[in-house]
């Protein structure tokens, strides 16, 4: 590791050093002041929604791109006028400071605050103990939401990881068409959940029996002799039609990551097991799977976390009606439809508690990699 050493520059004559020094101090004081004023002005300007959108846009981009840089340059400059000894011990904090401030303000403080609010009532005025958690974990509506989240977690994660694994093994064997096939399966990952929801709402679209079906699923189903179904109101199967969307989105992601890992399995290892007469299935379970274990764990936890927080798909497709509610959508409704901030906070804490094992796992593997 480097310790920052002060610059070893030859010392200029005393008078010009003094002049340069005072000029430097002057600049160091004026520039921050100007920067601060500009940022403040921009801040107020952007709150002022009367300004034309294009003007806001221009200021926005200047601030977004330039403002942050200016802030760093100015504080670094400010630190440079400090005496040598203090300077180099302060400087690292100029670099990490903004990140730490924002993380504290946007992640750490709100998290603690939400935990606190989860023990207060709907308007956050009176202490209600565990009432919000009683609601979150035992009320009838929430039991449905919790059940659905469990369904999502099991089926989406299960399908995404196993489908992704199987497809990545298969595309590995089709030669030059591999990249094209991968692109097709991977593409949904670039699509927003809102876009994906519209796509699938169309697939699930339902028309009365005498009219032509325009949704793919009902067209196939009626062609096979069935009556058209309103898939999204078909309890409890509608949950599976919703979670299928997420499987569609995430499978390509699992496939791409796992495929990269499988390609990393040394060819000699595979060849050696083949010469030993191991069957392909044994090679898959005995060589490939153990080799990519780390990637499998990462993919599984990643998908679990994404699924746990699922919001957009449910919000757009059914908004939790017909027993398709999930925790994150319920939380949004508690905030904006019911104005119950106690319930909303408790639901957020439930999500947080669910990801804590992953947090611990991440920190542990970081510490292991340091050794």
């Amino acid at each position: 590791m480097t310790t920052a050493t002060p610059a070893q520059t030859p010392r200029p004559p005393a008078t010009s050093w003094l002049a340069a020094g005072s000029l430097r101090i002057l600049v160091s004081l004026i520039v921050p002041l100007i920067t601060f004023l500009v940022l403040r002005w921009a801040f107020i300007f952007m709150r002022d929604t009367e300004a034309s959108k294009l003007a806001i846009g221009v200021v926005a981009l200047i601030i977004g791109v330039g403002g942050v840089w200016a802030l760093f340059l100015v504080t670094d400059n400010l630190v440079s006028i400090l005496p040598d000894r203090i300077r180099e011990s302060v400087r690292p904090f100029v670099f990490v400071g903004p990140a730490l401030v924002i993380l504290t303000a946007y992640v750490i403080y709100p998290t603690l605050r939400t935990v606190y609010l989860s023990f207060l009532d709907a308007r956050s005025q009176n202490f209600v103990g565990l009432e919000n958690y009683a609601f979150a974990l035992t009320s009838g509506e929430m039991l449905i939401a919790l059940r659905n989240n469990v369904l999502w977690l099991i089926f989406v994660t299960g399908f995404v990881v196993s489908l992704g694994l199987v497809i990545s093994v298969m595309v590995d064997r089709i030669g030059r068409w591999e990249p094209i096939a991968k692109s097709f399966i991977f593409l949904p990952m670039a699509i927003s959940a809102v876009g994906a929801s519209v796509i699938w709402k169309f697939v699930y679209s339902f028309q009365p029996i005498q009219r032509p079906q325009i949704g793919l699923l009902n067209a196939i189903y009626t062609a096979l002799g069935g009556d058209p179904q309103g898939w999204l109101i078909l309890k409890p199967w509608n949950n599976f039609f919703l979670l299928a969307i997420m499987i569609w989105v995430l499978t390509g992601f699992a496939m791409v990551v796992l495929s990269a890992a499988i390609k990393g399995v040394p060819a000699e290892l595979l060849e050696a097991s083949r010469i030993d007469g191991a069957s392909e299935i044994r090679i898959f379970f005995g060589v490939i799977i153990p080799y990519i274990r780390g990637t499998l764990i990462t993919i599984t936890t990643t998908v679990l976390i994404m699924v746990l927080k699922v919001f957009d798909i449910v919000f757009v497709m059914t908004n939790g009606q017909f027993e398709t509610e999930v925790i994150a959508n319920r939380m949004y409704r508690e905030m904006f439809s019911f104005g119950n901030y106690g319930h909303a906070s408790a639901l957020a804490v439930v999500l947080l508690v669910a990801v804590i094992p992953v947090m611990i796992y991440n920190v542990r593997s970081l510490e292991q990699s340091r050794r």
Binding site: G64, A99, S183, I185, F202, A219, A328, Y332, A348
Partner: protein, 297 residues
């Protein structure tokens, strides 16, 4: 191929191997690719059909006479961009997205450099905390921040949403950039110090240019995250015409115009166009960003 003794097992095994590399695998892969593409294809084709046709017949019927000009139209796109305000929403999405990508990258790059190459007390502990914060669900911040924003009039402003995306993009950004910056060759950075370069110079002239690949990966990841985000945009910007972003606008169309498929299909495609374009042009970086950065709050 194994050239050992042909035991019954190895014969069966050879057969299996041939089977796996043969036609059935190709057919299966083609089938899966088709199944995965059909829903999007249906959306794209429908968005180019006249409104009445969409509800009168399935989109697949266009293949019976695909070259008749009368079955295609761009009217749906004209309509969503003008009458339904998607043109304005595109601008809003850009205004939200660009700073929400640039600000966290800048702040994270400075921090990652300090974590990797500068000595200061608490360095390891602070970095561990940053890694721990990576998976905090963004739901944890919604209620308190919404309240604070209402008090200081930041609600419904772009600035508020940028800072939010910065906050929740930072842990991952710092982690990714640290992983890359800490593996830069130490001799280069130390020789810069010996030559008398200040940390800021080393950072901006040396570290930053060398880190372009990882910055590109994170930028694409964050771009998609912010562009496709609905929840934070709904909470902190809302659905007012002058600030509403594309995802929120399209989501509103679904709610209000449940069966107006010509509007919905075109709207959804407008929302998808830019990410899909980026996907095709920068797939390599995109994959790397996703691989490295999938665990996020």
């Amino acid at each position: 191929m194994s050239v050992g003794l042909q035991t019954p097992g190895s014969i069966a095994n050879d057969r299996l191997r041939k089977f796996l590399s043969g036609i059935p695998v190709r057919v299966t892969v083609v089938l899966i690719s088709i199944v995965w593409t059909l829903p999007s294809a249906g959306l794209l084709i429908s968005s180019l059909r006249p409104a009445n046709d969409i509800t009168a017949s399935g989109w697949w019927t266009v293949f019976s006479h695909p070259f008749e000009a009368s079955i295609w139209t761009v009217e749906n796109y004209v309509q969503v961009l003008t009458a339904h305000g998607l043109a304005g929403a595109i601008l809003n999405s850009v205004l939200v997205t660009v700073p929400s990508v640039v600000i966290p990258i800048t702040i994270a790059a400075f921090a990652a450099y300090a974590f990797a190459w500068l000595e200061f007390p608490g360095r390891k502990t602070l970095f561990t905390i940053v890694v721990g914060l990576m998976v905090v669900p963004l739901q944890m911040a919604l209620v308190p921040l919404l309240r604070i924003y209402t008090q200081i009039d930041l609600n419904g402003t772009f600035l508020g949403l940028w800072l939010f995306h910065t906050g929740f993009g930072l842990p991952l950004a710092v982690f990714l950039l640290y992983g890359y910056i800490s593996t830069l060759p130490g001799e280069i950075i130390e020789s810069a110090h010996v030559d008398g370069a200040a940390p800021l110079t080393t950072f901006s002239r040396l570290v930053l240019p060398l880190s372009v690949p990882v910055i590109a990966s994170f930028a694409i990841f964050q771009f998609l995250w912010v562009w496709n985000d609905l929840l934070a945009a709904l909470v902190f910007l809302g659905t007012r015409e002058d600030v509403v972003v594309l995802t929120a606008r399209v989501a509103a169309l679904v709610g209000r115009r449940g069966e107006q498929w010509h509007v919905l299909t075109a709207g959804a495609f407008v929302n998808m166009a830019i990410p899909v374009l980026i996907f095709f042009s920068l797939q390599r970086y995109f994959v790397r960003g996703l691989t490295a950065g999938s665990v996020k709050g």
